[in-house]
């Protein structure tokens, strides 16, 4: 049984991606008998490129994704260089880490509610400071250049990049290397970037590529923050895919192929930038310039990270306030009264999507954790981690733009008759949950002291008994944490749920994005609030269970 686990896991990840890509490619060239496409042609591509403003949509997707990733990475590198190993760093890290669990849609809404002309920031300073009695007529959210979307993406990806960077940092010698450079007279940041950053960067390339893939091809954040005349490419593609006019799907698939090309182009561009940046850095450090006065830069680095975290946290609080707001007119900083009317009106329609979210999330997480544990147990038997190739496969669903293979996957699941079923929806969630569960659990699993297993075996315990009585309880905290990460990922899935669920599986996230495109702030507040509470509850549960279970066992009860 265990023998087949790794192959099974890789199959679960690779088969949907590969067959989904094929399923997108065929209709893109006009072949989809179910919709009357029985011969091959390039007509879908011609239709696609004939759409008004399509070049603008394509350019936007490319530039917004690339620029957002660059800014996010520069911020993270600068912050690590400036503060790694200090108390400030730990404080900010604790502050920023929870943001990882905030779903993209909720973060985007919170951000929009902060920065809009009638948003919280403007209210806070009006009219006493700004003199604005009425909101300015300024296009901030949904601006045509996509600046709001870029900032939103940066703010959401910074916690992710920060966390993967920290996981890649060698803990003990790390600071010594920086201290050596400081003794040589280098500034703290320069010393860090010269010694510690290159190996860290090499290890976080795959996560960075995943960020580029998301940023160039995301739908949920683009709908909320992105330009609307025209919308970015992925948003328009989903619109066509969901259009009652079925013939538009050929064009949507052609567009999905273009989307893959856009993401690939952004990745290639990144590789080129990597070379250029590396060359420049090498040249600079050859000069021996010390960059010893970097205190102002250090303040900017921490300031921008803290600001971005504050924007999201503030946004989430504002969302929560809106959900219970009575009349709340501009420029009142707070609502005139509070009311649970919106909650009581919305609650009945919340229950069904909430249950769907919980069922899909829990089942996909349980399946994923079972597969991951089986893979790790097998890895322990063989001593073979699969290396970089396995890691690349693990990242596959995160590197290929979702649209690229989900369109095809949707058409495929329909044609084999499992479309819009619980099975299909949970399956597609597993595709995205599994990599995250694996990435979260593999490190603690691999660093588990194998001598415990040896002792268990020598004491006559069977493999199963060793697993259930020793490894499992001792790794319970890590396992539950990985499950909480997986659950958060499942809760946040928008496009897979929408497409594979064929719109019939409403989850909190699909409802949040759907209702959010309507402008009722109270309803958005309620849905976003629930959306962000779900992962949070998951993490609380993951921390609380071991603490209660092992309340008398100091070494492992955790927080």
């Amino acid at each position: 049984m265990l023998k087949y686990a790794p192959a099974f896991a890789l199959g679960i990840l690779a088969i949907p991606v590969v067959s989904g890509l094929a399923g997108t490619l065929l209709p893109a060239f006009g072949y989809l008998p179910a919709l009357g496409g029985t011969s091959f042609s390039v007509q879908p591509f011609l239709d696609f490129f004939y759409q008004p403003g399509i070049s603008q949509s394509i350019t936007q997707a490319f530039l917004i994704g690339l620029i957002a990733t660059i800014i996010a990475l520069v911020l993270v590198a600068a912050f690590l260089a400036a503060w790694y190993g200090t108390r400030t760093f730990r404080a900010v890290q604790h502050f920023v880490s929870p943001l990882l669990a905030v779903p993209h849609a909720a973060a985007a809404f919170g951000f929009a509610f902060m920065i809009a002309p009638s948003g919280f920031l403007a209210r806070l300073f009006s009219p006493w400071l700004t003199g604005w009695e009425r909101p300015l007529d300024l296009l901030i959210v949904n601006d045509r250049l996509g600046l709001a979307l870029i900032v939103g993406l940066v703010v959401k990806e910074v916690p992710f990049l920060l966390l993967v960077s920290m996981a890649a940092l060698p803990q003990t010698q790390a600071l010594k290397a920086v201290q050596v450079t400081q003794a040589l007279g280098y500034g703290r940041m320069a010393g860090f970037l010269a010694t510690l950053w290159p190996p860290v960067y090499r290890q976080i390339r795959l996560p960075i590529f995943a960020v580029i893939a998301y940023a160039t091809a995301n739908v949920d954040m683009s709908i909320i923050l992105g330009p609307s005349t025209p919308e970015t490419l992925p948003v328009r593609l989903v619109g066509w895919m969901n259009d009652p006019e079925l013939s538009l799907r050929f064009m949507a698939c052609a567009g999905a192929i273009v989307q893959i090309a856009v993401t690939m182009a952004a990745l290639c561009c990144w590789l080129a930038l990597e070379q250029i940046a590396g060359a420049i850095a090498r040249r600079i450090f050859k000069t021996g310039v010390r960059f010893s006065r970097d205190s102002w830069l250090r303040i900017i680095a921490s300031g921008s990270i803290i600001t971005s975290a504050l924007l999201i946290f503030g946004g989430l609080i504002v969302l929560a306030i809106w959900s219970v707001a009575g009349l709340w007119q501009f420029p009142d900083a707070l609502p005139k009264s509070l009311s649970f009317r919106s909650w009581s009106q919305t609650l009945p329609s919340l229950i069904e999507p909430l249950l769907t979210t919980l069922v899909v999330g829990l089942v996909s997480v349980l399946i994923s954790i079972a597969i991951v544990l089986a893979c790790l147990a097998r890895e322990q038997q063989t001593g073979n981690t699969g290396g970089n190739k396995a890691l690349l496969l693990l990242y596959l669903p995160l590197l290929v733009p979702q649209i690229g293979f989900l369109f095809g996957l949707q058409l495929l699941t329909l044609s084999v008759g499992v479309g819009a079923s619980w099975f299909a929806v949970i399956f597609v969630h597993v595709v995205f949950v599994l990599p995250y569960v694996f990435l979260s659990l593999s490190a603690p699993w691999r660093s588990f002291d194998k001598r415990y297993d040896a002792i268990g075996a020598a004491l006559g315990a069977s493999q199963a008994r060793i697993f259930w009585r020793i490894r499992f309880p001792m790794l319970l905290r890590a396992i539950l944490a990985a499950m909480a990460v997986g659950f958060a990922v499942s809760v946040g899935q928008y496009l897979p749920t929408l497409l594979i669920g064929a719109g019939r599986f409403a989850t909190i996230t699909t409802e949040t994005v759907a209702l959010g495109s309507g402008g009722n702030r109270r309803i958005i507040g309620i849905y976003s609030f629930v959306q962000m509470m779900l992962p949070l509850l998951g993490f609380i549960f993951a921390a609380l269970v071991p603490a209660l279970l092992f309340s008398k066992r100091r070494a492992i009860r955790g927080a």
Partner: protein
Amino acid sequence: MCAASTVLKIENVRIALAGHDLLHVDAAIKPGEVLTVMGPSGSGKSTLLAFIGGFLDPVFSASGRIFCSGNDITFERPQARRAGLLFQDPLLFPHMSVGANLLFAMPPKIKPQVKRRQEAEASLASVGLEGYFDRDPDTLSGGQKARVALARVLISQPAFLLLDEPFSKLDADRRDQMRRLVFDQAKQIGLPVLLVTHDRADAEAAGGTIIEVGITRNGQ
């Protein structure tokens, strides 16, 4: 399966890593006797223990035979070899109480529950930890943990003991105390003991044969 109070025979065992021989041992250990394998770190001495215990990391290769009371156990499952393991860390299961650690190790044939508990309490008393049954292992001192680990391995009724630097993390006076406790108990029960260490004082306290390894590294 091998019975208690027997001979552990290590016949012509060679351990290699990536084609390089690390060590070669050929010895027999009688009941109550201690064989000490000494060598620097990286000499493969811990790997020898792993091979005998049945946990050899797949990156190593090994040849030779292990006999327990005349039975070839070279290819037995680790669970069937009945090796008693002690490492430099006590490695008590942190999620179980002290007593539960012992009960986990105790053979299932000892029944019923009341008797199991009595035996565990008695075993704790024999290492000077009377009344520690319900304690959280994490609240014990280093020396106490080491004694619980010893009690745990003895209560499992092993056929022989494999000791991997079990005293190296204890402070000097406790170390001596612990050595005596371990070797006395082993002698009393009549267990063959294989000790690997880099500390000559361990070897001298053990009082048995000493094999030095790792001196001719890469030279064979």
